[in-house]
Symmetry: C2
Subunit: 180 residues, 2 copies
């Protein structure tokens, strides 16, 4: 948290006072398609996933969110539209919720917080670009290796068919990948 900006203790506790602590059990939904979205979530422990479902059939995972990650349906959160992305809980999780209004309020009141959120999204943007490139550039095997290298803990935390949905391949193909 304190890596990107410096806050006084006072500022930090002021920031902290706007978060709501929540617990979720494995399998529990946090944001469902069609919901009004007005919070984003900071993960303290456990693991969430954000995903899109195609024609009520196929699932694509945008992001696994583990400790210190933020997640939400940012399209819905920023635009005010209804959710098109789902978020749910893969492993029992503790999270802090921050509302869109409170974030904007905090950003207007405390310049360092404004910068924090700016820099946070900058990093997210760059990470997404890398992911997009690896989609265009690499085959499923290579993407799988990249993922396992970056987040080895997923191998235990997440069932394989979810990893497949993150990589954008079928579970069958993924299964054939590690037997080689």
């Amino acid at each position: 948290l304190s890596k990107t900006i410096r806050l006084t203790d006072e500022q930090f506790s002021y920031l902290f006072s706007h978060f709501t602590r929540l617990s979720f059990k494995k399998g529990q939904a946090i944001i469902s398609e069609g919901d009004k979205v007005d919070h984003e979530y900071f993960v303290l422990s456990g693991c969430l996933k954000s995903f899109f479902i195609n024609n009520e059939v196929k699932m694509f995972i945008l992001q696994f969110a583990m400790a210190t990650w933020w997640t939400s349906d940012y399209n819905a959160l920023y635009s005010g539209n209804r959710a098109t992305i789902n978020v749910d809980c893969i492993a029992d999780a503790e999270v802090l919720a921050l509302s869109n209004n409170d974030r904007e309020k905090l950003c207007n009141e405390v310049p360092a917080i404004n910068s924090f959120f700016r820099l946070r999204t900058n990093k997210g943007f760059v990470a997404l670009q890398k992911r997009l490139l690896s989609f265009m550039n690499s085959d499923a095997k290579h993407r799988y290796e990249e993922l396992m290298q970056q987040y080895p803990e997923l191998y235990n935390t997440a069932p394989k068919h979810l990893i497949a949905a993150y990589l954008g391949v079928s579970r069958e193909t993924l299964s054939r990948l590690y037997n080689s």
Copy 2:
């Protein structure tokens, strides 16, 4: 520009004074792999592309940047690493360059500018997520139609093999797409 934030005339001209106007001719390179990157670019007219080259062979286009778009190698710009992404000019362009230092300075001095860049990247992040989903979800034909619907002017501005490189398909496949 003025859609996301409100600035006084004074603030605006202060902001503006940090931009350097540059002209580029079709084909001219703006950022090349290995460069030190310390500016981002706002396009006034013309068209740029940012792209990655795989093993000195295959090109993947991250973004076409036309009027009112920003572009750079944001990974390099934010991290200080050398460029891995190239940016060059597809159609004679007028751009405004803003240095990383000046942006940070402006963001610290003028809260509204801080918010502007925060919100700009938020939008970019959401747009990238959509692009990623369309990669996972749709076939080449569908992606092509989405692109042409969103940026019809590209049909005239950009050679087809560049459109193919944006869509992540071979130029042959793209060629076969519109003949159907």
